[in-house]
Amino acid sequence: MTIEKRPNATADKNAPTQAPDRAPMVSPGTGPKLPGPPGVPGTERFRLLAYVKQESMVRVDKRPDETLLTWPHLLRAEFLMAMLISGLLVVTSLWIQAPLEEMANPAVTPHVAKAPWYFLGLQEILSYFNATVAGVIVPTFYLLGLAAIPFIDRTPFKAARDRKLMWVFFLCLMLGGLLVTLIGSFFRGPGWNWVWPWEGLFFNL
């Protein structure tokens, strides 16, 4: 039940002819010329704007709904995750040593010079294509293409079958990137020649 106090609001077409018990009832059409001085308690008159069958907007009785309190539910989840990750990180760091080779020496090129792993896909592409294409156009297109996704896919539907094209586009970016990164990481050795992982790993983290 929504009741508006302003005397000259427009009439609502959906107002039911039969008002519920306690609602002050005013027949449509008499609104603008209301008698009684404004602001004097007890003399305002109300008119029915809409009769809403659902629960009211402001809930008085708290029934279970689709939300939870942040404290404790969300905070507990976050805390547990933080503990889990911290633990994992400490155990990993006690167990696996970060690499450190000889001091940098510009005069000695190692037999395998690789970029950090997240750029190895790029380095792999660089061995197929012209340098400008692989080194600049591909990464620019990659980032801009990702950023453009919400502006290309304008429909409100989220199910996979309703956005097949986007899925194909996104999977191409992801799986393509994964493939070249894996090749660059584990299948390339001295001279950027093909090497099977069991013949030798040339990979640094």
Binding site: L74, V90, L100, A113, V136, L143, L146, P150, D153, F170
Partner: protein, 239 residues
């Protein structure tokens, strides 16, 4: 014991810090989140599915937590590291050899950095899977792509700092790609390296970017990212 606790809890100091008792009613729990500057990044209530581990896999949260862990461990390392070609490598060796827990902190910093690149990618894939870039969240997706780029840059600039052979040649090969830009390729490489090849100027530049510039910019974008999640009506719903 209880008397001591009561004395503490009724002191003016305690009550100026905490405006309410321990939150164990709906009202005080809501107030706890609203009144705390850190907690109020969160709304008071969240959707039921948002706290399910299998909805987000906590990937965004883990990325953020790793960012915090990297800030702390990075700060520790800074106390023992000088970005100079004649010292950097020895400093790393000294951290490993003679600083208490030095090896642990260095390892944590390094593994957290690699893990963060991974979780940010996975987070992006999870967001795509749920179609959570759809209106009204388009802009937050774009902010996310910027964060992805910043994460890569943070990791890349840090990679040079140990000044060993891996670092030197990885950055040489990596920055060489900038030379291939069709316009201003040589200029941008010169600017990035602070010279014609990787050297002292490069180390200093990467250091400043790594410890101040990129973390600051990334933190600002993260604030925008989190704020946007709330303003876009909380986390998206299941597909």
């Amino acid at each position: 014991m209880n008397a001591v606790m009561r004395f503490i809890k009724e002191s003016a100091l305690w009550r100026s810090l905490f405006r309410q008792p321990y939150p164990n009613t709906s009202r005080t729990r809501a107030l706890a989140v609203m009144n705390n500057v850190f907690l109020h990044l969160h709304p008071v209530r969240v959707k039921r599915h948002a706290v399910r581990y299998t909805y987000t896999f906590c990937l965004g949260g883990i990325s953020f937590f790793l960012f915090l862990a990297l800030t702390v461990t990075g700060l520790y390392l800074m106390f023992f590291y000088v970005p100079s070609v004649s010292r950097a490598y020895q400093d790393i060796q000294a951290i490993e050899a003679s600083v208490a827990f030095g090896t642990l902190v260095r390892n944590m910093h390094r593994w957290a950095a690699h893990l963060m690149v991974l979780t940010v990618f996975l987070h992006m894939i999870r967001v795509f899977y749920h179609g959570a870039y759809k209106p009204p969240r388009e802009f937050n997706w774009v902010v996310g792509v910027i964060l992805l780029f910043l994460t890569l840059m943070l990791s890349f600039t840090g990679y040079l700092l140990p000044w060993d052979q891996i670092a030197f040649w990885a950055i040489t090969v990596g920055t060489q790609m900038a030379l291939y830009a069709p316009l201003l390729g040589q200029e941008s490489s010169f600017f990035l390296l602070g010279g014609i090849q990787v050297g002292q100027e490069t180390l200093l530049r990467f250091y400043v970017l790594h410890v101040i510039a990129f973390p600051l910019i990334a933190a600002i974008f993260m604030i925008v990212h989190f704020w946007r999640i709330r303003k876009d009506g909380g986390i998206s719903g299941p597909v």
